[in-house]
Amino acid sequence: MRYATPASAKEAAGLLSKEKGAAFLLAGGTDLLVKLKMGMVEPDLVVDIKRIPKINEIQTSAKGFTIGAAVSGAVIGEHKGLNAAWPGVVEAANLIGSDQIQGRATLAGNLCNASPAADSVPAMIVAGAKAVIVGPNKKRTVPVEKVVEGPGKTCLTKGEVIEAIVLPKPEPRTGDAYMRFIPRTEMDIAVVGVAISLKLERGVVKKAKVALGAVAPTAVVVPAAARALVGSKLDDASLEKLAAACSAACNPIDDKRGTVEYRTRVAGVLAKRAAKLAFQRAGGAL
């Protein structure tokens, strides 16, 4: 196995695209090293992006936040600006694994691992996050919801590297929240995850976005659930409509963590709770 530490994302893309053998990108390594240990992958080349300048930094601008692809969950959790702007994204990122995992795990890695149960993905989707993808020849920016195409499968082509996750500056009176259900209190994989962002105008929901995790092969955006919230002050009738729309959008698997029926039901329950939290964060009165 050869190990490379390129000095730019473009150089990383060049190395990955030219490699004839099995090539893997290394950021936090919390997925790659497990696969290496289990013998699930046998890399000829590992490209460690952590020596690329700015890839370990969160940059704030008038437009929002640029989170470098190697920024760890621990760093995200301590970033005051991000906590204030997108608390749902921060809480989703920080739910992943232990403090030890948080010391290394990244948003871009959670996205690229493409697990249906990835906690940060629904949260990033409702926040309007985009992935900045650098290829050997060109750079493109893709909404997070378009990156994952199936379990373990992304839209990245050979050589393409996510350089950063970009989050917009939230509009005034916007709130977001992410909630998941796990059988334990910590260190588990989501049975259902629900992310909701909404914007208020005069105390009424003006815009909303709802995304579910762990109930389908990829995170699902549920426009019908968002429509149930728009125009409401989160009265019981609109919350029931929200729950029904979320449950209707579920296409989950049956496994030891939850049955199809259970996941479908819980998606609706969690959606109501997440909506209330997002509403309060947007400044709404319940």
Partner: protein, 167 residues
């Protein structure tokens, strides 16, 4: 067969060089090449925390880090906790509270508890339990570990106040 690479790093404050295959974990390199066997292998997949170390100040599982990634970084293991031959307060409190039985998980708990107290000198029980959720112990049932960390935190706060008054 992986190529061996020379890695220059700092471990527990000392400059260290070792040669390791590129696919070798930092955990294995620390144990077999640097001789720091306080770093334990439990699961090898980041679930148990027995191999916890800090890397440039961040708490990590050294089994999920490649040895070659340590180039130019600063690594601290359980061996770096004691000073001048004296046990760290946490180590002493683990003994006082009998917060260990077989001892395999203990170095990881100590490194993780130290990382917690560096960040939060006065954690409550819930905060301690969450912060140590990445460390598994199959002997003690955790209560004694939590008590040891609480007691150590109390002593460390006292010592800090004392040294502040002195200066």
């Amino acid at each position: 067969m992986s190529n061996a690479t020379l890695v220059s790093t700092t471990v527990n404050g000392d400059p260290v060089q070792f040669a390791c295959p590129t696919d070798e974990s930092l955990m294995t390199a620390l144990r077999n090449r640097v001789g720091l066997t306080g770093v334990k292998e439990g699961c090898g997949t980041g679930d148990c925390g027995a191999c916890s170390v800090t890397l440039d100040g961040s708490l990590v599982c050294s089994c999920l880090v490649l040895g070659v990634e340590a180039e130019g970084r600063k690594v601290t293991t359980v061996e770096g906790l004691s000073e001048n031959g004296e046990l760290h307060v946490l180590q002493q409190k683990f003994i006082d509270h009998a917060a260990l039985q077989c001892g395999i998980c203990t170095p990881g708990f100590l490194v993780a508890a130290k990382a917690l107290l560096d960040r939060n000198p006065n954690p409550n029980e819930t905060e301690i339990r969450y912060a140590l959720a990445g460390n598994l112990c199959r002997c003690t049932g955790y209560d004694k570990i939590v008590h040891a960390v609480q007691d150590a935190a109390k002593d460390m706060r006292k010592n800090n106040n004392r040294s502040k008054k002195r200066s």
